[in-house]
């Protein structure tokens, strides 16, 4: 177990989760996972596909219950989705029938914020993610990267302390991904937020994080936590530095055997089906 620090804003404590499929042995997705995130920190959780990253994301976000253990936000055990945690999803998630402004105002609407204030807030967050001037557009009129920013602004609208993101850039091309990563870093500094990013992209993890938690393949546990000691902002010079490359290499060395094991198991599962 990691040592407890007093100012952890989010802690994952001994969280386990199994999935049951009929006529098959249960799959242990997460096994007594522990993770602590300090206030203002940017932590990435990285792991091979099928390691239980998304399960961890859903449990922290309160969308699915864990079998054992608990999620603690600012010293309080959560029960379902917590107001202090804002989730950003991997899939394109904007509402096609709402304009950018109405999308961003969605959570405010649920919270009963009056219309005038909602619109003002929405405009503010649209501006923050660089979508000023697009408030009246529908998602269908925007690019993928812009839609993902709408989704981000919608999550930010409630001003959660913790931003919990599950591969938010997975559907984007490499360059858009890098730029959006920089945007998130800026926003996080402006709003003084804590970020937990779930990803399988090593470069992205090193580019953005203070610490990278490496997960093992099934059952998922945090195998190792690596401090990323690089200056911010992390522009092209940082990314091309030896130190950056060294971090990427180190994470890959750890991840490689897990990813290989994951690949072997999924291929075996496919072979068994025939």
């Amino acid at each position: 177990m990691t040592q407890k620090k007093a100012n952890a804003v989010l802690s994952v404590e001994q969280v386990s989760k199994s999935f049951y499929v009929e006529d098959e042995p249960p799959i242990l997705a997460l096994s007594e996972t522990d993770l602590e995130v300090q206030k203002g920190e940017f932590v990435a959780v990285i792991g091979p596909s099928g390691c239980g990253k998304s399960t961890l994301f859903n449990i922290i976000g309160g969308l699915i219950p864990s079998d054992t253990g608990q999620i603690v936000v600012e010293g309080k055990k959560t029960n379902g989705p917590d107001k202090q945690i804002g989730m950003v999803f991997q899939e394109e998630s904007t509402f096609a029938w709402r304009t950018v402004e109405e999308n961003i105002a969605f959570p405010l609407e649920l919270a009963g914020v009056p219309k005038q204030d909602r619109i003002k807030q929405a405009a503010h967050f649209a501006d923050l993610v660089g979508l000023s001037g697009f408030e009246k557009r529908y998602p269908a009129e925007l690019s993928c990267g812009m839609r993902q920013r709408v989704a981000l602004a919608r999550t930010l609208a409630l001003e959660p302390q913790i931003l919990l993101m599950d591969e938010p850039f997975a559907a984007l091309d490499e360059q858009t991904r890098m730029l959006l990563g920089e945007k998130i870093t800026e926003i996080r500094e402006a709003l003084d937020q804590t970020v937990l990013l779930i990803t399988h992209n090593i470069t992205e993890a090193v580019q953005l994080s203070d610490r990278v938690a490496i997960m093992s393949f099934r059952p998922g546990v945090i195998k190792r936590i690596l401090d990323i000691d690089l200056p911010r902002p992390r522009g092209p010079e940082t990314i091309s530095s030896d130190k950056f490359g060294h971090y990427v290499g180190e994470i890959w060395a750890d991840l490689r055997e897990e990813a290989a094991r994951g690949l072997r198991e999924s291929e075996r599962a496919l072979a068994d089906e025939h």
């Binding site: 969308l63 379902g80 989705p81 989730m87 899939e91 029938w97 969605f106 649920l110």
Partner: protein, 246 residues
Amino acid sequence: MLTTPIRIRAFSLFAIWLIWEVNAQIAWLVPEVFTPTSQIFAGLAEISVSPVFYEHLFFTIFATGFGFLIAVISGTIIGIALGAFRIFGRAMNPYIAAFASSPKIIFLPVVMSFAGWGTETKVTMAVIGAIFPILLSAYAGMLTINPVHIRVARSFNIKWYDLVRKVYLPSLRHPLLVGFRLGFGAALVSVVLTEAKFGESGLGFLAMQYYGLYAIGKMFSVLVILFALAMIANFLLDRFATRVPH
């Protein structure tokens, strides 16, 4: 603006009128039924000044509209419920499919036995006719709702009624419009059939009465009015649809 579809539409209407009129003039195919169009226009002119006609028209519109409205509300609610509770939906699916594809007129004796001969029976028949296309499209739409939208909504701790109002209903806007269209047609069919078979009022009754009196021109003019009614309803639903975003 004379766009190509409008030209094609106008031309085909003219072509049908021409074929009809030529057939009537040379008295070729069942001339006693396919009467000259002048008689149909004369019939239209005659009934359009008769107050009795407007009473019948009102009865048909009222029964269809009221039945359709009930079907819209209840069909949408049932369809959403079936989709929201998947196991329930799967369990009920065969029954719904059986009911949906059976001719609704078989329910008429049952409905009449407790709703009588009047408007109640017509309204009930309209509901029975319209509800299936509506609930089936709502149900089918529910199965294609983007799951991430539900997860987003849940991450904001959404209440169930807000989930229905702000996620389910807007997600269903396209399938529901299709269902409403089909449902309105079915409601009108059910009402007119009921009127024609057992009614004492309404356009279906009127058409059968003219047929019985051998007033073929007037009978056709009632059919023309029914056709116009269906077109107007479709037009209104179309207008409504254009106000729905994407």
